[in-house]
């Protein structure tokens, strides 16, 4: 019985699934297709040097700006939806024993789950089908699943604040919404912001991929260069993507530090 209750069962199941997946490999055939090694090598060598011509750098810079704009717009939608839903889903702002609490928490958790269960590319296909190839489609395709992720994590972070200061605030006669604004929110805020920045990084990556459904940006440029087998250009674009992510990372750790100190 203990075996069934422990996490060991999960470990064994996962290990078995991993082992079973090995049977899907054709062990006798070649691992790379004909010419695969050569073209992979050609792709790697194109890094030395990437395309650094002024014309192309301008294209890469513009594309970076576009990708960043889509990511920020999508995250804005995600935050606007994720914050209120996350607060409701955490259940901390309800009067203890309120009959609204359970159904509200369950309903918002379900809604958030549904939003993030569908990948942003699938949302993109749905929105493009509904409103056509427009920036709005991409922004909502990014915003909805990210709202689902943010709301869920916001709810968890709010539930995880230390209970003692909350209990102390409660003895001053504070109602749940006052407890929320004086206790839960300020104590969770550094983590909420830190996680939101981490998600912004993911949104930038996702916005680049979004280009494959037709919006401008780094992904679209990468697609064009790949079509023409211009690997040195692909490298330039990838380096721009890395640079944006690193910049956001530095920015977020700076803000987090100022919030924590």
């Amino acid at each position: 019985m203990r075996f069934l209750q422990s996490s060991r069962l999960l470990t064994v199941l996962l290990a078995a699934a991993g082992a079973w997946s090995l049977t899907a490999i054709d062990w006798n055939g070649p691992w790379l297709h004909t010419g695969g090694a050569a073209s992979f090598l050609r792709f790697l060598l194109a890094l030395f040097p990437p395309d650094l011509s002024a014309d192309f750098l301008l294209i890469a810079l513009t594309a970076s700006g576009q990708t960043l704009a889509y990511a920020v717009a999508g995250m804005t939608v995600a935050i606007l939806i994720g914050v209120p839903l996350g607060i409701i889903a955490s259940g901390v702002a309800f009067t203890p024993g309120s009959r609204l609490r359970r159904p509200s928490v369950a309903a918002t958790r379900f809604l958030l789950g549904g939003m993030r269960a569908v990948h942003e590319l699938v949302w993109a296909v749905l929105f493009v089908a509904a409103i056509g190839l427009s920036p709005l489609a991409a922004i909502f395709a990014l915003g909805l699943p990210y709202a689902g992720i943010l709301g869920r994590i916001y709810a968890d972070l709010l539930q995880d604040v230390p209970p003692e200061p909350i209990a102390a605030l409660r003895t001053t006669g504070a109602s749940p919404l006052r407890l929320f604004s004086y206790g839960y929110w300020p104590m969770a805020l550094p983590d909420l912001i830190g996680y939101t920045f981490y998600r912004l990084e993911c949104a930038i990556r996702a916005a680049a991929i979004m280009s494959f459904v037709g919006i401008p940006g780094l992904g679209y440029q990468i697609q064009l260069s790949l079509h023409d087998l211009l690997f040195d250009q692909v490298w330039t674009l990838l380096l721009f993507l890395v640079a944006i992510i690193v910049a956001v990372d530095l920015w977020s750790s700076r803000i987090r530090r100022s919030l924590l100190s």
Partner: protein
């Protein structure tokens, strides 16, 4: 003082309150009846697990008794609408002060008003502090008026302790409960904490119930001492009658059942 003619009605009275926690071998508090008059400064003494914290939490309305009743200012605690009314009667301070470390000092102090303020005013205060003068006055009394806008986590332990007392002063309940407020303090800071708390209580005519271990502090600051052991009342005497022997016996390990001594 209770045998004086025309004794004042007690501010807080328990009538046979008891409490047991699920899974615990013995009740945390056996039926206990005590009464404390307004203005008294009462020490609760007893070894760990004797029921001091349980009693304080019952008096604060944080937990409910299994049986019996707690009355404050003549009104059963269970009949008070939680929140505003309770916060006017009872305030609680803990060993760890339990401030919100991320907020500036002023908001931790003004949190003592949350039971009185409406929601809009409470939230607005986070941006435009309300009753700033009130906060400034109590912080000045605590000698840390210059820290009013600092982040609470930047303050030293001693300063945070003063912020916690300042919050209690702003809340201004008639009964102040202090749960081992000096348990982790060095002797000088313990002394300071108790003199601040007791001075505050006697200056404004408040009643104070504080759990304490040190016989020296009990005798110096309190008017009466209640000894608890294994959830039962061992003695309830004026501090003048609390001999060293009486207090020592309370902590005598021989008295404990063998399973408690590990």
């Amino acid at each position: 003082m209770s045998d004086a003619a025309g004794a004042p009605p007690p501010l807080v009275a328990t009538d046979g309150v008891s409490k047991a926690y699920a899974g615990a071998p013995a009740p945390a508090l056996a039926p206990l009846s005590i009464a404390v008059a307004p203005g008294e400064i009462v020490a609760l003494a007893g070894p760990s697990g004797s029921g001091k914290t349980t009693l304080l939490n019952l008096l604060a309305g944080i937990i409910q008794p299994d049986a019996g009743q707690v009355a404050i200012a003549g009104r059963p605690l269970s009949q008070l609408r939680s929140g505003r009314e309770l916060s006017e009667l009872v305030g609680l301070i803990h060993q760890q002060y339990d401030l919100v470390p991320h907020l500036p000092v002023i908001h931790n102090v003004l949190a003592g008003r949350l039971g009185q303020w409406g929601l809009l005013r409470s939230v607005a205060s986070l941006v435009w502090p309300q009753e700033r003068q009130t906060a400034l006055a109590v912080l000045a009394q605590m000698g840390i008026a210059d820290k009013i806008n600092e982040r609470t986590s930047h303050l030293s332990g001693g300063e945070q302790q003063r912020v916690a007392i300042a919050r209690l002063m702003v809340q201004s309940p008639r009964l102040i409960l202090a749960d081992e407020p000096v348990a982790s303090l060095d002797p000088a800071r313990a002394d300071e904490m108790l003199s601040l708390l007791t001075a505050l209580a006697s200056a404004s005519g408040k009643t104070l119930i504080v759990s304490l271990h040190s016989p020296h502090l009990i005798r110096q600051y309190c008017t009466r001492v209640i000894g608890l052991n294994r959830g039962r009342l061992e003695f309830d005497v004026p501090t003048s009658a609390a001999t060293a022997d009486l207090l020592d016996r309370l902590y005598d390990l021989e008295q404990l059942p063998p399973e408690v001594i590990v």
